[in-house]
Symmetry: C2
Subunit: 145 residues, 2 copies
DNA sequence: TTCCTTGCAAACGATTTGCATTGGA
DNA sequence: TCCAATGCAAATCGTTTGCAAGGAA
């Protein structure tokens, strides 16, 4: 199912947060771990061959996101897609193809990530308490260029 | 209503695109021009004191976005917020409140924007033809902090 | 006239919730 | 045991659409 290392990290994380890791929730996490990008409730529903009711799916996604295991990603058409949180997947940014819509992950070289973090801190400064950031780079992927 | 310079630029842009600049559409643009960040249909509806029916509002937003006068921004809670396109507003980034979902515009100081552009160019490098970028800074706004 | 736009209400699709039942610590 | 999780169906909420009436060219 889920890669074993995620399995134990998540189990521990949820235990600490007093959240049960039930079969339904494990199923959702396992499905997402198999994916190569964020997925919506409907997409997971299909992927799981409709064995898990949509309402349960939504509830699992909400609980797991609340617990910090998943992070929601709001995309086109009002769909919310979820992916494993950054502490599991690693901090990354997105390359979004303006032609085909494909989303690729990019990890910045440490020095650039540091630069970006300093930049964010400077900008947020007094008017805002920054807790995170996301850089989206728009352009054309190799296939579309 | 709308700052006169926007008024004429938009009017010309729409004429070129064969799209009428009706009173309803002018109202929507004027309302957005007064805002300091992207706004959803519901927010504009309230701002306009419910004088403009929601369905008309949605239709105006769709037409104006399609014509390139507005750009949509998909945010928390499945809401789509719109703002004047960058060719009108100038390039900027967003501060997004993770509690209330409010979105504020930030313009980076020129040196930081330059830094960011260099960073983007470096990252995109060979695998991607970058045409733009968007930095989202997540955190808590003054009201929610 | 001939399109395009508007308003109202009904329709939609994604997500949430009430409630009775099941399951896990 | 006992509270949390689940499933189903009904309810919500943002958004879209059908249709008839109101402009503008």
């Amino acid at each position: 199912m889920t890669s074993p290392q995620f399995e134990s990290q998540i189990r521990h994380h949820l235990a600490v947060h007093g959240v049960r890791y039930t079969r339904g929730r494990q199923t959702v996490v396992a499905a997402l771990a198999r994916m190569d990008g964020p997925r919506s409730a409907a997409e997971l529903y299909d992927q799981l061959e409709r064995t898990l009711p949509l309402s349960s799916l939504y509830r699992s996604l909400a609980v797991l996101a609340e617990a910090g295991v998943l992070s929601p990603h709001h995309g086109t058409k009002g769909l919310t897609r979820y992916e494993l949180a950054e502490w599991l997947m690693g901090h990354h940014h997105h390359l979004v193809c303006i032609d085909c819509g494909a989303v690729d992950d990019v990890q910045l070289p440490p020095d650039l990530e540091t630069t970006l973090e300093r930049l964010v801190a400077t900008v947020a400064a007094d008017r805002f308490v920054a807790t995170g950031h996301a850089l989206e780079i728009d352009g054309r992927c190799a296939a579309c260029a």
